[in-house]
Amino acid sequence: MRLTIALTAVGLLATTVIASAQEVELDLWTIDDPGEYHYVLAEEFMKEHPNIKINVRTVQFRDMVNDLARAVATGSGPDITYIDNPEVALFASRGLLLDLKPHIEKSEIVKEEDIYPGPLASVTWEGGIYGLPRGANTIALYYNADKFREAGLDPDNPPGTWDQLYEAAKALTKPDQNVYGLAFSAVASEEGTFQFLPWLQMTGGNYDNVATEGGAKALNFWKRLIDERLASPDTLIRSQWDSTGTFNTGSAAMAISGPWELPRMSQEAKFEYRAALLPVPEEGAERASALGEGDNVILANTDNPDEAFQFVEFLYAQMPRVWNEFGYLPASQVEVKDPKNPEIYAVFEESMKYARNRGPHPEWPRISKAIQQAIQSTLTGQAEAGAALEAAQQQIDQVLGK
């Protein structure tokens, strides 16, 4: 008996000695490149916590889900990773992510009620909280104030309803100068779904209820913009980044996109650009906007959940800096001091209040694909909007098990 106690004591002593000498290592996967968010903040964190070492590794955005699934399967996953917000439910539903709720309840920094409802919904799965947003983004209407003046429109009074948007696009379209009224993205990828959902939501629909009159109205509105050449037919194959590129070069007078465009816009756009909330179907209608950006999550099988949470908590605490330094919107109620582009920041901050999450659903990609197909078959004229959305609804119901 005494021997056991002695041995335990020696053992304890040994572990404490080792623990203080040996630092905790955490593996972090990110889609950032060196010099960006995760790299910068991991560096800062390690300075504050010399006993914790963070190994940062870059994974391509489009490969993240595949790489992560494979790594988890073979037991070589990271401790902490970044995933896009519609993907959280996919991993959480399979028990692969650590439920942070108990940690958050003890935390002095993270308060559940501070996080905006959209970002919070994106990390919530069956009562647990499986990640913390690193920031948020959403979409709004950018417009070229110079072109507004040229066309006799008032740049202080941007289009607020769909009808006004149509009229403005019509007035701004100059086919002889290769200028379209509006640029947006209806590409057959997650980006198309991201751009379309707010239009659907503003008419009362949602991802699980697409075959609505309002949905058809929204799709027909998009179709009209393209059919009348107020937006380029290439809208169907252009990503948001490429679409906004045409706005920056002056080939489109308005563009629907998010705050991630601002760094490039400030370099490329040689005109006065402003932003406004997404137009609503009619005066006084419900507002909606898309919710983008991803979350910092901890994998369930990490060996150091406490240190991992400490780091994720540290990242969350930097929320007031993200707009100015990294180009995202804060995902919780924090004060941003001296925001860059203050007017545009105000628009996006307001828009965040209406930003709605995609899903959450573990089979989100299949739901998204059904919506993309409805968009594309309507815009190419292969199907009538109502029928296309009806077909999408059937596929979505199948996924949802209705």
Binding site: S232, K369, Q373
Partner: protein, 300 residues
Amino acid sequence: MVRFWRSLRDGSSFDAVLVWLALGYLIVFSAFPLIYNIVISLQTVDLFSIASLNRPFVGLQNYREVLSQPIAGLVFWNTLQFVVLSIVFQLCIGFGLALFFQQDFPGASYLRGLFLAGWIMPALVIGAVWSWILAGDFGVLNYWLRSLGLIDQNIFWLSDPSVSLYSVIIANIWLGVPFNMILLSVGLAAIPHDVYEAAELDGATAWQRFRTITLPLMRAPLGAVISLGVIFTLQQFDLFAALTQGGPSNASNVAQYWSWQLSFQTYQISYGSVVSVLMIVFVIGVAAIYTRSTRHEQAA
């Protein structure tokens, strides 16, 4: 033991080792993935069960579900058009160029070498270049066609569902021509000159010489080029990724791209495998036709 080493050094055992090495390689790196792919296509597999062995076996259910998807017919029809049109034009243009450079004129071999520039460029670079050429609003091709007065409205090469597949085919033809030309040049060079001389003395016209000498003697190289062409066009993925992503509305979607979309965009990996198994069956069919058609020649 000594006998073994000796036979290994200069006898039949050495041959056997080489054969087994090759066979082992084929089994590990070709047969195994192939069979594994077939197995996956009969099970329910998603991203997270791919590494576990506990996967429900559903038999041909996956095949039924894939084939009953509304876009299945369109995708296979597009694939067929893509393969047939690509190969017909690659072969005709490639053969034409091969015959042209077979003529003796100064600089022929250098010029022929220039054609290889396209072939050695990575497909993604080619995709980027063609997407500038084919862009609807600011594309080079539309600019030329308009300057020449051939069109007065821009053609949306990549986003108009009635032309997008053909735009990818055009880019793919351009990509495949040099390869066809080089392989066929080699074949042409192997035909002895005196046969042509004799025919010419007998008064055969150029067309007759082509039809009665060149074509029959080129049968094996043409067969090889066609079967390789089928495989290469079925492999062509990057151009779709770079130009249209199968769009708009699947107007330019083909089996290989659809298989990828199913596996890695919606994570229905078994469905993706079903599509690739169907493609393999098709390739095996083409290979069988090719071996049958060339067997007579080797026997002769």
